[in-house]
Amino acid sequence: MGTPSSLDTSGHELRPLPPAHGVTTSSSTLVWLRAREWSASVWVWAVIAAPSEAVEAVVRGCVVVGVGVSQDIADTREPFQPRQSLPSIVSIVQRQQPLGLWYARDVLASEHLLCFRLSMSPRPPGDLNPRRDPALDFPDKDLSEMSFEDYERLGFLGGLEVHQQLSTEGKLFCRCPAGRRVTNVDAEVLRHMRPTLSELGEYDQCALMEFKTRKEIVYLLDRKTVCTYEIDDTPPFPVDLAAVKIGLQIGRLFGLNLASELHVMRKQYLDGSIPTGFQRTGMLGLTGEIPFRVPELGIDRKLRIRQFSLEEDSCREVSDVGHRITFRTDRLGTPLTEVVTEPDLKTPWEIQAAGRLIARVARTTKKVCRGPGAARQDVNVSVAGSRRIELKGVGHHRRLPQLTHIEAFRQLNLLRVREELRKRGIDAPPVPEGRPFAWTSSPLVIEAGALVKRSDYAPLKDALDRGDTVVAVRLPGFAGLLGRRTQPGITFAREFSERVRVIACLTDRPFFIHSDVRDYGLGPAEWRALHSALEAEEEDAIIVVWGPSGDADTASREILIRAQEAHEGVPSETRQAYLDGTSGFERMLPGPDRMYPDTDTPPLPIRDEWLAEIEASLPELPWDREDRYVKLGLSLLEASELAAAPWADLFDEMEVADKRVARRLAHAFRKRLPHHARQGRMALPYPDRVKPLVRDLESGTIRLEACDVVLDEIMERTSVPGSELLAPFRRTTQSSKTLDALIDETVKAAAALSNRPKDVLIRWAMGKVMPSLLGQVDPSEVAKKLETALASFFKKGAA
């Protein structure tokens, strides 16, 4: 009998199939080949001895795409065709028919093998960066020093999940009012979240982590904003149709394929942010694209949208201390849309631009909430060799570039740590599973209270006084790595302490010290004692952690789990974005099993009439608006700036037809309005005060040069009537007379300056003449006239 190892494995690692994802066969010769890392295009060969095992394969989620039999497995490399025969193969497998249909029955009757080519999807594709070659020698740089090419070398890829609250009367699944922020508390409810079993009968790793934290979750209730639905004591009411319709409208603006029936799903969250333990969410549309034009970044392509869903917003976190996390529930249940882009964004600035564009598209409906917390984004980042990391809850687009830049380098630095571990030839440490404590079941962990009891390190002394358990964990081969920089001002050790803080709920900082730190903390004698007690080698690192014994136990196991993950490179995590651009561990990235149908809510048909209604009243889209401005004479850059500006509607209200006026006005708005806003004046002028100016500009009554100054007057002298403001700038029959008189006067005054260079003289003279005639006369005409007058004056004087 052939063995699977005779399969062509060039370029692949041969590994046993993990039981959860594979098929156990009678011959237990099932293998899976994986390219260095999993990708969607990798096929897996499984050797299966009997048809029933093939059925099992199908049942376990494998797609059989080829089948064959042979005396020698090596002959069956490309045994059968293939895709077009797939349905028949599957049906044969299902019916467990003899395989003689393909090959001679007598061949099959003996001990020969049947070979299936299986496609498997243990992880959703797209989790790993497609490039597997980390730019390990790339120097650490600041965002400002980076070029587009630099990010290309890093293999930087980003994607966005933009959450936008919709402006509706009520919440999505109950009839409480939406969009009210309160601080009143009428009552409190305490809950726990217990992980549920996944599809494969296992606990989701994210779920398990949340459970490890053994958190008490407290919800603060206010009678006016929350009913028994939000706290999961009443089943959902029918979904809010207004929200569905706004959602459909936004989906249409993104050019999505819209669902014809909305299915409400439950997406599990065990962090407590939703009292049910899951978020109700429904898919409205898939696969769309919008024009992505950012002239200042040289971008002119499409932004691909992967999916768009309508969901209920979660609670606002009030505090998270130790084993208790507290949430306010007013926001809970507010309708929220989520736009997910494809991970196509290639620099941090593109991510920012995409975020802004998506927000603008949603805002064109004028049915979305504005203000703090109304729009939030999660951003996914990976670099070559790493996997998708989710940074959560970024409130402001301007924070995106720095945040994603720092994350890219954090990942690169973790890959460098992995490389160093590989160079050192270190194996990942085992994680103790024994009870009752990690230190009773693993040689890598000791209870170290006695060894450090004479330490003069104050936090540790306090801990011992409190009766904390002190534990030392040996990390084989990690010496020197914990002190490596991963983010600005943050070392690799933080990866461990964040985990411990979140998972073991240790709060009395510091709770943790490690052997790469020598300038404070434990003394050399104590480290020596710990080294020898742990039988640590020179190249090992030690982490000392303290807390209540149960938490110290969780902490020491978690430290070893994180050390194991260091060998993998970048662990799948959801990270919390901090204001300084760095991020911290929040939780494990949930697996694909967290979504299941909401049996409390019937599917909602999406009616053609609704779509027709939406189609009939589509708002103008940002890119259409840009095109309109370009037609009005603006450059693409000016057009895109104007379309995105808060004064775009004001501009449109002016109904400018003249191209020169349009450009001038756009320019004046962009230059002057932000200035006035900074001065604390009203952000935008009343349209009726600007309109006469525009009409005068168009008719030529006021010349274009005066535009900025007149606008300033309108903004500054709010109590003066518009006509009075405009009067001094209007060309009148007197204008040329006044000009002549002024020129005369100026030329006479110039006598004292006769020794100055000519251009200085002209500039001085213009400064004398122009201010009172701004808007009335053409400055170049004035300059010419002045030049002539001055020339003749000095000629006369000289004569």
Partner: protein
């Protein structure tokens, strides 16, 4: 292997599927007038409309596609999963008490079919251990599935079997009995067991869940764990209901089987003891009695099992416009017992007196309870009450109407042709179905919105 390849689909989707040679569990690309969709074709719920196909997308979302938007369906794969609760061997510890768990159909532990949303019950000890491993720290658990019915389908037929099997378990030496039950009619079954299994030497604990255990916020695990504590270690040897005290995940209450009622359609803290205080609290394995009068655990195996039930018994919920023919119809249909849920202290309109008189004369057992739920029937205070008594209607003190219904069915079952014996049984308190006094806090429905009640809620978990 016979399978339904079109599970849940009707015309016109059925023809569409056949025409395109796809079945449920096919992975396919649907080209539609609203764009292309890639996903796995799921079975359709029987109650959903026939117009849509349901796809499971790679993201885990389901999406519906209307048949008339479909241009083509291209099959690209086939994936079907079967779901099992992980079965781990329940560890046996000879030091720990033995508890018998009967299943009636309500799901105590379960997990979800992630594609269809169907709940798969966990029931065998191995399955229960797989999903609630804490149970093994409490007791040795044996399980037996008696029925597979929803709560609302539990009835007299099941009461009789259940009573017999509980009796057997007690005689077999179990240290406690747990009955997993849907919550809707749990208090009917608890009343039935209270009458049919009297003076048990060990705890008989009924338990269920208000939120199914496939959700992280479920009350199921805490209920089951606390029920196990009460059954294995508790000193109270009565028929009890073990469900959430407050809606917060804090403690369970043990309610006496004859005084408990489900009071809210969906709240976790839906079960309440009426007209008295609960027997005990159970929190983190500690059982704290609240009431000091209860039957205590005994070492003997004596138990008085009397399974019997007359089905021709009903409750008439009185309302002001009630016409006498309602009662006449019941008599005509051969009903043997009627429990009236009267107004106030136990009253009905004079208009139906003649009908009651006829019923009484026809040998129908007539009993009076209160639709107020709380308080005592007192028919001597007003003339109407006295008149009704004269018609042969017998007052049942503070017996809850649902309990009175169960008790009358049981009494008539035990004494089919002896109205006097039935009257004796009915008017003699059994397992607290009637009490001689109501403590001041036996009636406690706090009124929301009142400042002092609000103050109270700042100090407790709701």
């Amino acid at each position: 292997m016979s399978k339904d390849f079109y599970k849940g689909y009707r015309e016109p989707c059925l023809s569409l599927m056949k025409k395109n040679e796809v079945t449920v569990w096919c992975e396919l690309i649907a080209k539609t007038t609203r764009g292309d969709f890639h996903g796995l074709l799921l079975p359709r719920s029987e109650t959903a409309d026939p117009e849509h196909l349901v796809l499971k997308l790679d993201s885990g979302y389901n999406i519906g596609i209307r048949h008339d938007t479909v241009l083509s369906l291209e099959k690209v794969g086939y994936r079907e999963a079967n779901y099992k609760i992980p079965e781990k061997e329940f560890p046996v510890d000879p030091e720990k008490p033995r508890v018998r768990l009967f299943g009636t159909g309500g799901t105590i532990a379960s997990r979800l079919d992630y594609r269809t949303g169907a709940v798969i019950p966990a029931f065998s000890p191995g399955e229960l251990y797989g999903s609630v491993p804490e149970l093994a720290d409490i007791c040795n658990l044996d399980t037996e599935k008696l029925f597979g019915v929803f709560s609302e389908n539990m009835g007299p037929e099941q009461y009789l079997i259940l009573a017999d099997r509980v009796g057997e378990a007690i005689r077999d030496g179990y240290d406690g009995v747990i009955i997993g039950h849907g919550t809707d009619t749990m208090h009917h079954t608890s009343a039935a067991l209270s009458f049919m299994v009297q003076n048990p030497p060990v705890p008989i604990v009924m338990v269920g869940s208000q939120r199914s255990s496939d959700r992280p916020s479920s009350d199921a695990a805490q209920n089951l764990i606390n029920a196990c504590h009460a059954a294995a270690h508790g000193e109270i040897a009565e028929v009890m209901v073990c469900m959430f005290g407050p809606t917060s995940d804090r403690y369970n209450l043990l309610h006496r089987g004859t005084r408990v009622r489900k009071m809210h359609s969906s709240y976790r803290s839906t079960f309440r003891t009426l007209g008295d205080i609960p027997l005990a609290m159970v929190e983190n394995g500690v059982i704290t009695p609240i009431d000091d009068k209860y039957a205590t655990r005994r070492l003997d195996r004596e138990v008085d099992v009397q399974p019997a039930f007359e089905e021709k018994v009903t409750i008439v919920y009185y309302y002001p416009g009630m016409l006498p023919d309602v009662i006449d119809a019941l008599v005509d249909k051969g009903y043997k017992g009627i429990v009236i849920a009267g107004t106030g202290l136990g009253h009905v309109n004079r208009k139906i007196y003649p009908a009651l008189e006829r019923a009484s004369a026809a040998g129908v057992a007539l009993y009076m309870t209160l639709q107020t739920m709380w308080g005592f029937v007192q028919m001597y205070v007003y003339e109407t009450g006295r008149e009704i008594l004269e018609l042969g209607v017998i007052p049942l003190a503070n017996m809850i109407p649902d309990v009175a219904y169960v008790k009358l069915g049981w009494s008539l079952g035990v004494h089919p042709n002896d109205l006097e014996a039935v009257r004796k049984l009915m008017t003699t308190p059994i397992s607290g179905d009637m009490t001689d006094r109501e403590p001041h806090d036996g009636y406690l429905v706090l009124q929301g919105g009142i400042p002092e009640v609000q103050d109270f809620f700042t100090g407790v978990w709701k």
